[in-house]
């Protein structure tokens, strides 16, 4: 009933228009590599000054939803994640596009973005306060074990060689050490460079590793293609996108994929609820989860629809999870929700438990707006599909310079520093070299994101327990995650040994 009132509140032309416009702008920013929901919100925040509180908040919310989904467009079409949340979408989306199934890949991504968003919206509406209480149970002990478990995704993300995957991850961890040590406030490994005092910023690192390296590779392969006339799909092949109707997904496939979507939605939701970890981790975790439990894990990475479902469901479910803690506890979980919080504060509204009591009408209007923004995203992206696909027909010599220009803008916008542009270029080169030598890039990013959190929470735990590890083992949640970690590691080693024996046997037979 309250939700109905919420819908009545937002069903006024000005708000509906803002929701549509916000979603569309969000999708645009999400789709452009380098720019993300956060950048878009930072730019649009001052615009909300002049709006009514509800209008302003609905607008920011729509940008958040659109921005989180829009990343899939460039991930699939260019192999460059539009936002950190769509890294895993590239793994299968880009190969599908290269096989001429761009529309099907995009359609699937869009549909499951909607599914993920809706799952999290439903949980948000009905269970938000209960779930928020659960999130409060997480002390450094539990965080430490959850992050340790998240690190095991490296195994699934190392296509081909697990050794190369681990090396890549360790490289990421090493880069993460640079900057201020969070638990002493002194700097490490800055080598006298003042600009490094804050370490490497995640955004330029991601843009460099995924976007710049991909562009460099395209440039390089173009040269080779001219020479040998065969490597890589030619422009003509790409143009021959197969003709499919609607989203390119049958109802049967849709229901079949729900097996993947529901657990991935849950993963996205849980990661969203835990402050500090966000969509950039959840899409990779969900991808690893689906690959592990799949009967045909070898198909992942070759243009397999399950991979897109995993990534896109999880990252959009994360939005709802992050909103739960923001609205019920007033705690921002990632930089985009921090911007939302700034938006609330500008209008003199403090999200938190009291908002449910003092201004329940506002809360339900926000819920309704969140549901509507998801729907708007589905509709806009559906009608946008033919337009997005046209992007493939723009010659790379026009498109890629534009993309790289946005990479510069995005790297700068992340923290408004020119230095970050150099960081982006550095990591572009590192990514390019690693790709050349067959090192997977995702583990580097996983290591870079998770290592500082792992260190921080472990050291906090030890500070509290005065050096003992036993109290960590006394927390039931921590024990569950430790066991999960252990099982994953053992299974991975077993699988690797089996593969090793098989390949040895094959070699012997040959």
């Amino acid at each position: 009933m309250d939700l109905m009132n919420g819908f009545l509140d937002i069903f006024q032309p000005s708000i509906l228009w803002l929701l549509l416009a916000g979603t569309a702008v969000g999708i645009l920013f999400g789709a452009i590599p380098g720019l993300s929901a956060f950048t878009c919100m930072a730019i649009m925040l001052p615009l909300t000054f002049s709006m009514e509180p509800l209008q302003g908040i609905c607008f920011l919310l729509a940008i958040y939803v659109g921005g989180c989904s829009g990343g899939l467009i460039s991930a699939i079409l260019l192999g460059i994640p539009g936002t950190p949340s769509s890294i895993a979408t590239c793994f299968d989306g880009y190969p599908m596009a290269q096989k001429g199934q761009a529309r099907r890949a995009l359609g699937t991504g869009v549909v499951f973005s909607f599914v993920g968003g809706t799952i999290s919206a439903i949980v948000l509406v009905f269970l938000a306060p209960i779930i928020a209480q659960f999130a409060l149970k997480f002390s450094p002990y539990e965080y430490f074990t959850v992050i340790l478990f998240a690190l095991t995704t490296v195994a699934s993300l190392s296509e081909g060689s697990i050794v190369k995957g681990l090396l890549s991850c360790l490289l990421g961890i090493s880069f993460a050490f640079v900057g201020i040590d969070k638990l002493s406030a002194y700097t490490r490994y800055t080598m006298g460079v003042h600009d490094l005092a804050n370490g490497f910023n995640l955004v330029p690192l991601l843009i460099g590793v995924f976007a710049v390296s991909q562009i460099l590779e395209n440039a390089a392969s173009r040269k080779y293609a001219k020479a040998s006339e065969k490597s890589g799909p030619s422009q003509k092949d790409l143009m021959k996108t197969e003709k499919v109707k609607g989203f390119g997904l049958s109802w049967k496939e849709f229901f079949y994929q729900m097996r993947n979507a529901i657990p991935c939605g849950a993963i996205g939701l849980v990661i969203g609820i835990l402050p500090g970890i966000g969509g950039n981790v959840s899409n990779l975790m969900a991808y690893a989860y689906c690959k592990n439990r799949s009967k045909t894990p070898e198909k992942f990475g070759t243009g397999f629809i399950d991979g897109i479902v995993a990534s896109e469901t999880a990252n959009n479910a994360t939005v709802g999870g992050a909103l739960i803690v923001l609205l019920t506890l007033g705690i921002p979980g990632d930089n985009a929700t921090a911007m939302m919080l700034a938006g609330f504060q500008l209008h003199g509204i403090a999200p938190g438990p009291l908002l449910f009591r003092t201004n329940a009408e506002m809360i339900y209007a926000i819920f309704a707006a969140f549901l509507f923004a998801n729907l708007a995203m589905l509709i806009i992206e559906f009608f946008g599909l033919p337009v997005f696909i046209k992007m493939l027909s723009v010659p790379g010599s026009y498109l890629l310079p534009a993309v790289i220009a946005f990479c510069f803008v995005g790297s700068f916008c992340a923290n408004n520093r020119v230095f970050d542009i150099f960081v982006m270029i550095l990591f572009g080169l590192i990514g390019f070299i690693m790709k050349r030598f067959g090192f997977p890039l995702a583990p580097l990013v996983v290591g870079f994101i998770l290592a500082p959190m792992l260190e921080e929470n472990l050291r906090r735990s030890l500070m509290r327990t005065e050096g003992s590890l036993i109290p960590i083992l006394q927390s039931p949640i921590a024990v569950v995650f430790l066991l999960l970690t252990l099982v994953t590691v053992i299974l991975t080693i077993r699988k690797e040994l089996k593969n090793y024996r098989q390949s040895k046997a094959q070699a012997a037979a040959a």
Partner: protein, 353 residues
């Protein structure tokens, strides 16, 4: 086919130009949003110019940015945005907030020092600016800038505990820390003023809190809500909801004296303990080579901001005190804070690192 491609690439180009414009417009904020205040200000500026005071410099003629050296979502960011909004009314141009996070506010301060000394880049900061200086990780401090003014004092830092903690009042908590030294936690962020506050409480009250790193303001609230830590210091307005519901209890105000806007929160003196002052100021500065005429114009606009009823009301809502210290007065105030509330605890603070 060829024609179509050309049209499309043109379209893409157009699209990108648009969003580029949007982006630059963004880092220099919303043309549209502040067009109203801008035009208002223009008319005000006009009347001002005719009222005498012949200004030799033509300032400002383009948007001014305030660098906020912390991430959005906290009280510094919020206050900066309100200051920017009201100041743009009196300066006649947009005043834009740019967040440059990191290095315990050093990154943002460095960016201002690297910018042109033309007054178009301001910095906002609080007591936190002295911490990296105190630790010796940077040479930058208030003397590295020209001070514009201090418009706000935040005397709302309270020592908070959870309602289930069983601590009845400040006296009770302090006694309990004495009875069981180093078991009762005071959660904060390492290398920030709240750690110095912990040192001060232990020293001035003979207490024995165990300092525990829990993180920034949001993390401190989470930890206290989840009853993971025993006590935190926090700005009253940030946790207003929890004080209202009674989930958090404000045991005492960590300020020089009582805050009339918070009549129910006692001060340590009420229990016969020495007041520990961790109120905060918000200070605005510019590059040290900025011409004095320009600093005057900025200070003048800041003064008008602090007299603006909308500004005062907004601050009062969050229990903040609007003040107006300009230029050297403001600098003296900040330095006084440093010598009074931070320097005495320097050794113990550094020893804890």
């Amino acid at each position: 086919m060829k024609k179509r491609t050309r049209v499309l690439s043109l379209l893409t180009a157009a699209l990108m130009t648009c969003s580029l414009a949007a982006c630059s417009g963004g880092s220099s904020s919303s043309e549209a949003a502040s067009s109203q205040p801008a035009s208002e200000a223009a008319s005000q500026g006009g009347s001002e110019a005719s009222s005498g005071e012949a200004k030799s410099v033509d300032f400002p003629t383009k948007p001014i940015q305030i660098i906020c050296p912390v991430a959005p979502g906290g009280d510094t960011d919020r206050n900066t945005r309100v200051i920017a909004q009201i100041m743009s009314k009196y300066l006649g141009v947009n005043v834009v907030v740019t967040n440059v996070d990191g290095g315990a506010t050093v990154m943002g301060m460095q960016q201002v020092l690297d910018s042109d000394p033309d007054g178009y880049t301001m910095i906002i900061n609080g007591c936190d600016m002295f911490v990296p200086y105190m630790m010796g990780t940077t040479d930058i401090n208030i003397d590295s800038f020209k001070t514009v003014g201090v418009p706000i004092i935040d005397n709302t830092t309270v020592l908070a505990v959870h309602k289930n903690s069983g601590f009845t009042d400040l006296k009770d908590l302090v006694e309990k820390t004495k009875a069981n030294p180093n078991t009762i936690e005071y959660g904060g962020k390492i290398g920030a003023t709240n750690q110095i506050c912990g040192v001060a409480m232990n020293k001035e009250w003979d207490a024995a809190f165990k300092f525990m790193d829990v993180g920034n303001n949001a993390a401190k609230m989470t930890a206290l809500l989840g009853e993971q830590t025993d006590s935190i210091n926090i700005s009253y307005s940030l946790a207003k909801d929890y004080f209202t519901t009674g989930e958090f209890q404000a045991l005492c105000l960590l300020g020089e004296g009582k805050n009339e806007l918070l009549p129910d929160v006692p001060v340590p003196e009420d229990y016969g303990l020495k007041n520990v002052d961790f109120s905060k100021f918000f200070w605005l500065g510019v590059h040290p080579d900025t011409p004095d005429e320009i600093v005057d114009i900025l200070a003048d606009a800041l003064q008008k901001t602090t007299e603006d009823p909308e500004f005062i009301a907004n601050m009062e809502e969050n229990y903040l005190t609007t003040v107006c210290y300009l230029k050297d007065d403001a600098k003296a105030l900040c330095n006084d804070y440093y010598t009074r509330t931070m320097e005495p605890y320097k050794e113990e603070f550094l020893a804890q690192q």
